[in-house]
């Protein structure tokens, strides 16, 4: 004890001495004025920071990159600029110092990283944050910014479910935490304003995933996207951080850039894959085989494809139904400028994308973004206004079965159209298929408007205290009209159908106020950052869904006043309020040891009066061991080394509103009320405990940077319907289950500077994620409705299968193992567990620049297993080519037959181990080539920078999977393969 006290005292004495020494030191040096110019080798850099090391004195360079600063002869200058390596230059009595900054190869160093309420740098961060920046996003011919993240980040799984422009992808940051699929959305924050991440309902769209709420952001307007993953980074978002946070920052006006930027591109897209299906000859062979095997005579009713339809006809239905070409065009313009204390940036864009489906449909969006920032003359008051506005219109065919029709229509099925161009119903009369174009004239028109705006006010109270407040407002309104005219349907049914329409409207608006007080000071040899703030958020969302029918004329469809009958199926307005206090303390000692404490107390209106508030928090720390003398002096290979770790609790309140109230609601039929649910006023937050340990190293003067992290997230207190016997009136009540879902995993990020010469740069970025998802506990699972969906000790994304037992030699049909030997095959025999999740996934991005030419290509790799695409036993309907194996001697397929037994065997085998396949894929996600037009020629015509670029998306996919898209197994429109080229000019 005594020793300890002594050592503390000695440390204090030591610290005091140090302090005085630093005070004394400046007196021994003389003042002088240093001036110079900062360039990137060619062009001046305006807005670069020139700072005297260990002081707060600094200036920024002007438009010509020039600076003047008063310093002591013994001072050292730190010159930094976003995206460039910071230089440290001792003055050594010089008065002119010209500086050339190198672009920061690995995007590390002093680049500021947005951590939400505060910023950090890659070097100093204690949490797990990854980011992509404008250059990876802006040129891509895609609709939603989320697609740009695909394959670029470890721990971030993005699955595009189909190739429909604007449909919401599934996004999971470090796996599925909640048992409820709707409880796994990350938090989206655009310029400090939370935006609902729940997809917008769509009724007409061919996808059932909904519309991505980020569609209306302009890709060219985004400066960076940061993804916060661990407790250290997310705990400050408390109850909303459990599934990770996606921070989107839009571009700002700045000193550096002044002028006009224009970018224009256009391109085309086609389905990235078609399945190999039988041609007519092969098809008829298989069909005849079926009748032969069954010993049945083909008749008009059971073999209209063999008897009534033209045996010589061949249609490639995939070509017909999704073989079109989508034309993409995109223009964006931005102007920025300003003077002294006030800067602005104004951007606008237009994007149009056609469809590969039949009909004349397209996706259009127009966006505008404005940023104004101002600093008062005394540098005390700061003001930053951001406005993002976007409108999109998605006109689409409203026919959900197109893709499955394309895959299953017999190749000799009759033409869709009559010679006069109208739909051909007659030739289809005797088939089980309706004309696949039924619904051709059904259209869906979805339109949405989004505003995201934020005003940030800052005021420097003293050198150490900064007051800041965010005032944010966001509004998203969307409406969709689906029109279903009679002529879309077989005239035979006209007595039942009339001209119909479906109308859906939804609005979400939300305001947020977040006053904050920040403190920053040097304490000892360290730096203390602290922050405390309050959040008030108020959101209202409303929804109206109406059906109308009985329009007199097709031209009136959609005009509700002209409908014979309108029914409002849903009309609700939901208010959500949220209130919190949050704080952060960060301490950086000697640029070596870092500690970060974050906490939040949250209140949400989604819970009953007694359960509204909860506390969340995290502790994170980092140690830059390469700064230690023992490493520094003895190691020439290791240039940077950091260990970091964090632990904390975040939560999730992603659950319906008003669930704790005892309420009645209107029945669909007029005049009635019904009790909506069993009431439990006591349910509360889902809890997510996150643990992370990581090591970041730089080798050979940071030419190789490697980061490895291990994480473990445990999500407990699962908010689910607690199962009850139906005799209580309902089968469940909303409650917290003591079930725990665990996500663990390894993430690796490697950046290498393979070649770095004056003319040639080649960098490689590799990310790899090995996730593991497990249902850790679930008491009495066998008594719940989850009993046949989840298995303890296994991932959530599983499928229970029969064990396949080969072909039964007696029947020639597939045989399954009767696992419990009770003489029948049912769910109890489905005991093989298939993990349908990703085993691991990776992205490999290369960037090669030679003089003015640069090439980037990104490969995405996913290791997974799923079920194959099915090939049915012998009924009418086309098959994958693989079915021809049945004609071989050693076939593994059951005999072709239309018997009920063969169908039963088939319906079992698709749920058996026989149908498991490795559906891993390697995809050239994007490749882009660009050429910088010669600066000298350009400057003669007033252009500061000119660039030509060529982009391709989903060019190559290597996979064993025989279906359309290994990314989303099933009959979904595959993602498009697009090629686009464009031109960028900066004035």
């Amino acid at each position: 004890m005594i020793n300890n006290h002594k050592s503390v005292r000695w440390r204090r004495v030591f610290a005091c001495c140090l302090f005085f020494l630093t005070l004394l030191e400046p007196l021994s040096a003389q003042d002088l004025i240093v001036s110079g110019k900062v360039t990137d080798g060619k062009l001046p850099i305006s807005g670069a920071n020139v700072l005297i090391k260990n002081t707060k004195n600094g200036v920024v360079t002007d438009f010509d990159g020039r600076y003047n600063i008063t310093a002591k002869t013994t001072d050292t200058l730190l010159i930094s600029y976003l995206g460039y390596t910071t230089l440290t230059i001792p003055i050594q009595n010089r008065t002119t110092i010209n500086v050339t900054l190198q672009e920061d190869a690995t995007a590390l160093g002093e680049v500021q990283i947005n951590a939400g309420y505060y910023t950090t740098t890659d070097r100093e961060r204690t949490g797990s944050i990854t980011r992509v920046t404008a250059k990876d996003i802006e040129q891509q011919p895609i609709v939603s910014p989320l697609e740009a993240l695909q394959g670029r980040m470890a721990g971030v799984e993005i699955v595009q479910q189909n190739g429909i422009p604007g449909s919401a992808p599934i996004i999971r940051i470090r796996g599925q935490n909640s048992l409820r699929s709707e409880g796994n959305y990350p938090l989206y924050i655009i310029d400090g304003v939370p935006v609902s991440s729940t997809p917008i309902n769509s009724y007409g769209n061919m996808s059932n995933t909904g519309i991505d709420p980020l569609n209306t952001l302009s890709l060219s307007n985004i400066e960076s996207i940061e993804v916060l993953k661990d407790a250290d980074a997310t705990a400050i978002y408390g109850s909303r951080g459990a599934n990770g946070v996606i921070l989107i920052s839009t571009k700002r006006g700045s000193q550096r850039k002044s002028g006009l930027e224009a970018r224009i591109y256009s391109g085309m897209g086609k389905a990235s894959k078609k399945m190999k299906l039988l041609n007519t000859e092969e098809y008829l062979k298989i069909r005849n085989e079926a009748f032969q095997n069954d010993g049945e005579q083909p008749t008009e009713s059971n073999a209209y494809d063999l008897i009534l339809w033209d045996k010589n006809r061949y249609t490639d239905w995939q070509d017909e139904l999704f073989g079109g070409t989508s034309i993409i065009s995109d223009i964006n313009l931005s102007a920025s400028g300003g003077k002294e204390n006030t800067f602005f940036r104004l951007g606008g864009s237009y994007h149009k994308e056609g469809t590969i489906l039949p009909g004349d449909f397209s996706y259009n969006k127009v966006t505008a973004g404005l940023n104004i920032n101002h600093t008062s003359n005394n540098n005390k008051l700061g003001l930053n206004l951001t406005l993002n506005y976007g409108v999109d219109r998605n006109n689409f065919i409203n026919n959900r079965s197109l893709i499955s029709s394309a895959l299953t229509l017999p190749p000799n099925a009759p033409s869709m159209y009559k010679s006069d161009g109208t739909l051909n119903w007659m030739d289809w009369e005797y088939s089980a298929w309706n004309n696949p174009m039924a619904g051709l004239y059904n259209t869906s028109k979805a339109q949405s408007n989004t505003i995201v705006s934020n005003l940030e006010l800052t005021y420097n109270l003293t050198n150490s205290f900064l007051f800041k407040t965010n005032l944010g407002y966001t509004e998203l309104s969307s409406n969709e009209v689906i029109k279903m005219p009679k002529r879309s349907y077989n005239p035979r049914n006209w007595e039942y159908v009339s001209h119909r329409s479906i109308h859906s409207e939804s609005n979400r608006n939300s305001w947020i106020i977040e006053p904050q007080l920040a403190y920053q000071n040097n304490i000892g040899t360290g730096k203390l950052d602290a922050l405390i703030g309050i959040t008030f958020q108020h959101s209202v969302s409303d929804r109206l869904l109406m059906n109308a029918d009985g329009y007199v004329s097709e031209s009136m469809i959609g005009n509700l006043a002209s409908a014979e009958k309108t029914i409002a199926n849903t009309n609700e307005e939901i208010t959500y309020k949220y209130h919190a206090v949050f704080a952060r303390i960060g301490y950086n000692w000697n640029e070596k040891y870092f500690l970060n404490l974050t906490g939040r107390r949250d209140g949400s209106s989604r819970f009953g009066a007694n359960k509204r508030f909860a506390n969340f928090g995290a502790i994170g720390g980092a140690w830059i061991f390469s700064e230690e003398p023992f490493m520094k002096n003895h190691n020439s290979i290791l240039s940077f080394g950091k260990l970091r770790g964090s632990y904390g609790i975040t939560g999730s309140d992603q659950i319906g509103d008003y669930g704790y109230m005892d309420t009645y609601a209107s029945t669909r039929a007029p005049g009635g009320l019904y009790p909506t649910q069993l009431t439990n006023p006591d349910y509360s937050w889902e809890e997510n405990k996150k643990l992370e340990a990581a090591v970041d190293v730089g080798l050979f003067r940071d030419r190789i940077r490697l980061g490895i992290s291990w994480y473990r997230n445990r999500s407990s207190n699962q908010l689910v319907g607690y199962p009850l016997p139906s005799l209580t009136g309902f089968s469940s009540v909303q409650a917290n289950l003591p079930a725990t879902v665990q996500n663990t995993g390894w993430e690796l990020e490697l950046a290498t500077n393979n070649i770095q010469s004056n003319e040639l740069h080649w960098q490689t970025f590799i990310n790899l994620t090995i996730p593991k998802n497990e249902l850790l506990e679930f008491p009495n699972i066998e008594q719940t409705s989850y009993a046949n969906q989840y298995r303890l000790g296994h991932p959530l994304n599983i499928k229970l299968l029969y064990q396949y037992d080969g072909i039964d030699p007696n029947t020639g049909l597939y045989k399954m193992v009767d696992a419990n030997q009770d003489g029948k095959l049912d769910y109890e025999d489905q005991i093989v567990i298939l993990d349908q999740g990703r085993k691991y996934y990776a992205g490999i991005n290369n960037s090669i620049a030679y003089k003015g030419i640069s090439l980037q290509f990104l490969w995405e790799f996913v290791k997974q297993k799923s079920r194959k695409d099915p090939f049915p036993p012998g009924f009418i309907g086309n098959y994958p080519k693989k079915i021809l194996d049945v004609l071989k001697e050693d076939t593994e397929l059951q005999m072709i037959s239309q018997s009920v037994e063969s169908y039963i065997a088939y319906s079992r085998v698709i749920n058996s181990t026989f149908y498991i396949e490795d559906t891993s894929f390697l995809r050239l996600k994007s490749i882009s080539l660009s050429y910088n037009l010669p600066a000298q020629i350009m400057s003669t015509i007033g252009i500061t920078e000119g660039k030509l670029f060529l982009n391709a998306h989903n060019l190559i996919t290597l996979t064993n999977y025989k279906g359309l898209d290994p990314q989303s197994i099933g009959n979904n429109l595959p993602v498009l393969r697009t090629i686009s080229c464009g031109l960028q000019l900066n004035f």
């Binding site: 949220y578 206090v581 109230m661 209107s666 005049g671 009635g672 199962p723 139906s726 009136g729």
Partner: protein, 455 residues
């Protein structure tokens, strides 16, 4: 600092109060106002159209109990759910069985919720409270009568407290019967006498009497059965046996004592579920047993009006054609029938025969035979003995009430003739098949819930 935070937070708790959304209404509010309280009852009527057991759809009592007896059969043997009922080999995990059970208890929950709400209400007139209590109790009694008939002993739930109810054991048949009678007798006092409403979808005194008559008939209380059915039959200003068979199942037909309106579906489709289920198409899943159809006398006009014949290629079958509408929209023509006058005549005929009053029994049964175009017993066999007459009444009940609410199945059970009728045609018949199994999933969730023997 902490103190400031604390003060701040507590002052802001009010901020988190959200108003009740317009699409919901607090339970207390519902029962503090006459109109909304009535709406809660209307909601129950609507739900009866949608609830599996009473919907008349594929898993309703009408369909499943019809399959269990000798009336209905599944068309395709692949539909195991239905085949299990037809073979009387119902697996406890059969999901149709669970849906039927769950939907009945859902209705019971709604009734209990309404009754509890009314108990605490302030601003509603006694008259309205009485009427709503009466109607709700009728619905509860009706639902328990179905459960009792299909499952025997079941838990008797009369509150909304899910914490207790979730662990309820089964109650004795006597106590459930007691509850049914208590509810019905209370309803008899409380519901409106007047039946001046055109709509026959709301419970009237006569509906209560008609159901009481059925309950007494099931309990072999023949005096009471005769007494109550007589009260209904006597109301000739309201009810009559319609001579045109095609008019019986129309909305608000004069034969109807209580019907459920397809309005309850709440969208533009307006057909009754029975129409959609039974009227023959290429995709029909249920047909009438050929054996049953063959028991009709050839000149029985019910065979011509109430039974349809579907034929397309090799697919031919008979189907119940009491309801003709299988696909209408915006045009209600038929309601789903629950109680009708013909049943009251049949109840009274049976009661009178049981009591030895054969001539009046013959008069009642002839009322039904007359409409069916059959020769009258009074003419062809006026000296018929009691046993033969009772047998004839049972046969007449089968041919009159087929494909309605599982009447045949319940008749076979209560008269003890199930084995005789079913053993010859159902190879797997056992005496324990008279009761459906308690759904397995319910027993898994509620360890106190017993199972019927044989499962």
């Amino acid at each position: 600092m902490n103190l400031i935070l604390f003060i701040f937070i507590s002052s802001c708790e009010d901020f988190l109060e959200v108003p009740i959304p317009t699409h919901k209404i607090m339970s207390e509010t519902v029962f503090n106002d006459e109109t909304t309280a009535i709406s809660a009852m209307t909601g129950i009527y609507h739900e009866l159209f949608n609830a599996t057991f009473s919907s008349g759809g594929i898993n309703s009592v009408t369909a499943l109990a019809g399959l269990s007896a000798d009336i209905l059969e599944p068309i395709s043997t692949n539909n195991y759910q239905l085949t299990e009922f037809k073979e009387n080999e119902i697996s406890p995990s059969n999901s149709a069985n669970l849906k039927l059970w769950a939907s009945a208890y859902k209705i019971i929950y709604m009734v209990n919720s309404l009754l509890e709400g009314l108990e605490n209400s302030q601003n509603i007139s006694q008259e309205t409270i009485d009427r709503l209590q009466g109607e709700a109790k009728f619905v509860r009694a009706f639902t328990y009568l179905q459960l009792l008939a299909l499952y025997g002993e079941v838990p008797l739930i009369t509150t909304t407290d899910y914490r207790n109810n979730a662990l309820s054991a089964r109650n004795s048949i006597a106590s459930i019967e007691m509850q049914i009678l208590t509810d019905l007798n209370d309803a008899l006092i409380k519901v409106n006498t007047s039946s001046d409403e055109i709509e026959r979808t709301r419970i009237t005194k006569f509906a209560v009497m008609a159901l009481l008559a059925r309950v007494y008939c099931y309990q072999d209380n023949w005096e009471k059965a005769a007494e109550l059915s007589s009260l209904v039959i006597a109301e000739t200003g309201t009810f009559e046996i319609l001579q045109n068979l095609d008019l019986v199942f129309l909305a608000n037909s004069r034969e109807a004592i209580w019907q459920i309106s397809p309005k309850g579906r709440g969208n533009i489709l307006t057909y009754p579920n029975e129409g959609q289920l039974f009227v023959g198409t290429s995709t029909s899943s249920i047909k009438l047993s050929d054996r049953f159809v063959s028991t009709f006398e050839p000149n029985d006009s019910r065979m011509h009006h109430w039974i349809g014949f579907y034929s397309s290629g090799t697919r031919t079958f008979n189907f119940p054609y009491k309801y003709k509408d299988r696909s209408s929209n915006n045009n209600i023509t038929e309601y789903s029938m629950v109680l009708r006058l013909a049943e009251q005549y049949l109840i009274r005929a049976e009661a009178r025969a049981m009591l030895g009053n054969l001539s009046d029994a013959i008069a009642d049964i002839d009322k039904i035979r007359l409409r069916a175009g059959l020769e009258l017993i009074v003419n062809i066999n006026p000296e018929i003995g009691k046993e033969a007459l009772l047998e004839l009444i049972l046969e007449e009940r089968k041919n009159e009430l087929f494909s309605e609410w599982g009447h045949r199945w319940l008749d076979l059970k209560r008269t003890g003739t199930a084995a005789k009728a079913l053993e010859p045609i159902k190879p797997l018949w056992e005496e324990s098949d008279l009761l459906f199994p308690i759904p397995e999933e319910e027993r898994i969730k509620n360890p106190n819930l017993g199972q019927n023997t044989g499962y």
